[in-house]
Subunit: 138 residues, 4 copies
């Protein structure tokens, strides 16, 4: 199962070239990552504060297919492409009205928030991730 | 005495209208605020971490005189316009090649970082602020 | 009549002090400004591109009452506090679960996008603004 | 020859986890990209405005080695890892006091700013890129 969220593109997201400034895509993908947790019953804050489990990015791979402009809606599909013991690779497919805009793979480590040390992904999160291993089928 | 710093304006700072997106000016003024501390021998981190003294903004007043564009250098003068027991009003004059761009007054509270409660401005910072009460004379 | 919109506060919106970095409030208020147009049938892009009418901020006044944190929802009421021939002062009241967070007054000029010169507010926008002169009553 | 630039890390660059929010690294690398042009006698604005040559990112690959914190200085080496007819792959090595922080490869297309269509890299830029093919040797 894929998780899908939609983000509004704002006036201030564009740069001098009048398209979305590409670094902002990583912010959008992180927003989709937060929505993935919240939309599955775990507000992202619960992971960081209550469970003291953090997810820093260790590797990022983004492919840009077409520009995004302000007023657009950015539709993002999220799934878990790979899962290791202490890390997971999230995949993102971003589109606008069905048009391919950008895809990304972002590998996050699982860390304890108090020590910032890597740790095994706790069962609660492993179950969440396992339930979202499928890429979108459309 | 006025403190002066200069900031480079970047490609990504512009918005759809091809001028600097106005919310970014508050970021620039905060950068000037950080430079004010560092340039006077107190890295801003020392205030927050070592001295546990924080300076959240409680009031902001900005006047925009002319646009700023990427490739410009933003020259900012910083001084302390008013000083209370537990707060101070910083004044900023931002120019580009002598042209008036934006001015601001930003009132910050003095807080203890552990409790987030307002506290009297410690002598070390009071002395720093007192030494910079003069607006620019040019 | 007041216009109301809600904005999600994100992980990346917080700063070192673990509250929303105050410059971002101006971005949030601009998002509410965009939503005000779109929510009243005029996508903001239509103003800038089709009608060639722009609204740069010339003065900003913000008052911060309490911190905002990631995971919060920021509810913003928008109304037009003053209207001149070539400018308008928008008022914003931002709250979180009924708690006062920040209020702002942002004066925007009405300009022609091709010349960047001030111009009288066109009737279409004057009518829109006139219909939203009332502050919130709750 | 490698080009090197240094960027100050700001209070507002950190996120809730009190390390630099990872999407900002792409902004830092773009700042280094702009400095690469300017530092070699071609202000980035000259490329976009005078020469009407743009460089949108089409692929991004970032590896994060250690966190960056506010008050740090981010030292970035820039070189051209690959050069095609209509695109170039820029490589970035980011360090802080000699410690590995993040590396990136960002492929940019060469486009005509008026049509947004890909075009062969003009000789002036090809010469600039050719002169910076060497990775850092330290």
């Amino acid at each position: 199962m894929t998780f899908r969220t939609s983000l509004p593109i704002r006036f201030g997201h564009e740069d001098h070239a009048r398209i979305v400034y590409f670094p902002r895509f990583l912010h959008f993908f992180h927003c989709a990552f937060e929505d993935f947790f919240a939309g599955n019953g775990i507000p992202y804050r619960e992971s960081l504060e209550t469970d003291q489990v953090g997810w820093p990015a260790v590797h990022v791979d983004v492919d840009f297919q077409s520009p995004l402009r302000f007023g657009d809606t950015f539709d993002v599909d999220v799934w878990v492409a790979e899962m290791g013991t202490k890390s997971a690779k999230f995949a993102y497919r971003g589109r606008c009205e069905g048009r391919a805009v950008a895809t990304a793979e972002i590998t996050v480590a699982c860390i304890a928030m108090d020590t910032f040390q890597a740790q095994p992904i706790p069962p609660k999160y492993r179950a969440l991730f396992e339930a979202h291993r499928e890429p979108p089928t459309d």
